[in-house]
């Protein structure tokens, strides 16, 4: 089937549509983007939150011991500490992580993207571990994921079964958990995103890295902490090939509005 691109030379829209502002009288949601040494998607998350979504965003250096009264915490992608030893293994000891733990304990929304997901797993916010990709190679490409659960702050604006086209870029995204853990994750509906094909069918064929149960992202039992390997922040503008990642950010903005926190 032909891709429709009716306008000549207008394959991409730029600059992006004006940011959607929060409703009248509502203050924008404030994102804290944690910067570990070696984080490299920190600016991308900032750009998405601040300029695409029109919310507030601030960087928080990993040695800080406060979260600057943020509403949402983002652990961005990258190679914290070079991914030396194991992905996320050293970053989890950063001083700021104690505050993130307290923030999460009070129900604050926390999202870990790619390396951020790895940090959340190492730090025990989420259950499971990430192994080397099945093919042993770093893999950067677009994949499809299906939204499995919409009762998390990062998926509530999506619908169950919605298919998102998102980029991945990782060498260690092969989700693993012991059988009991995997069973519990399923039973408690903690699998939030699953790799699928373009039509939304969850098959091995859509799984780029060998992840158990095609798992692309999970949440904790309380459902306020979400980690995923794909990069929603890289898919917020049509100029970048997909806008499907916006729903992740829009979800948390909506969630904050609903709780009246914002």
């Amino acid at each position: 089937m032909a891709r429709s691109r009716p306008e000549a030379g207008r394959a991409v829209r730029f600059p992006p549509a004006p940011p959607r502002r929060a409703g009248a009288g509502m203050r924008p949601v404030k994102f804290a983007i944690i910067q570990f040494p070696g984080s490299n998607c920190d600016h991308d998350a900032y750009h998405a939150a601040r300029y695409v979504l029109g919310q507030q965003a601030e960087f928080v250096w990993h040695k800080e011991t406060g979260l600057r009264s943020a509403d949402v915490v983002v652990l961005p992608g990258g190679f914290s500490y070079g991914d030396y030893l194991r992905t996320g293994a050293i970053a989890r000891f950063s001083p700021v992580m104690q505050r993130v733990r307290e923030f999460a304990a009070t129900g604050g929304p926390v999202i870990g993207i790619c390396n951020g997901f790895q940090v959340l797993l190492e730090a025990g916010f989420l259950e499971g571990a990430l192994l080397r990709n099945r093919g042993l190679k770093f893999l950067c490409r677009h994949v499809h994921v299906r939204v499995e659960q919409t009762d998390t702050p990062f998926s509530c604006a999506a619908s169950v079964g919605q298919v998102l086209k998102l980029p991945i870029a990782h060498g260690e995204g092969n989700f693993h958990a012991a059988p009991e853990t995997a069973a519990a994750l399923e039973a408690n509906r903690q699998v939030v995103f699953r790799y699928c094909d373009a039509a939304g069918t969850v098959t091995g064929g859509g799984n780029p890295n060998g992840s158990l149960h095609e798992i692309a992202g999970v949440c904790n039992r309380r459902r306020n902490v979400v980690g995923l390997m794909p990069h929603p922040e890289r898919a917020c503008e049509s100029a970048l090939g997909s806008e499907d990642g916006r729903v992740v950010f829009e979800s948390v903005v909506a969630a904050m509005a609903a709780t009246g926190a914002a």
Binding site: A89, F93, A129, L131, G135, L136
Partner: protein, 86 residues
């Protein structure tokens, strides 16, 4: 004191690297290799009074940092040569 830590994936965890090496060895004609598992190896040079103290210290480090208990297990060895009371 010289200590060594071996970190390996738990037997229940699939080891894609080991598997790939085993397959490569097969096609290189090393048919007598039945299985390969890849792990990590660390040498830590530590200040400690006794081998036992070194072991305690390094086991703590392996627990906390070097191994991820979800997927890995570890083993510690302490070099006690030359550290005998003379």
């Amino acid at each position: 004191m010289r200590t060594r830590v071996f970190v390996t994936l738990k037997p229940s965890v699939f080891d894609p690297q080991g598997r790939t090496i085993a397959a490569a060895l097969g096609s290189l004609g090393y048919g007598s290799v039945r299985d390969v598992r890849q792990g990590k190896y660390f040498e830590l040079d530590v200040d400690a009074e006794t081998p036992a103290a070194a072991r305690t210290l390094v086991s703590g480090i392996a627990d906390r940092l070097l191994a991820n208990p979800v997927i890995e297990s570890y083993r510690v060895e302490v070099d006690d040569h030359g550290t005998e009371p003379s």
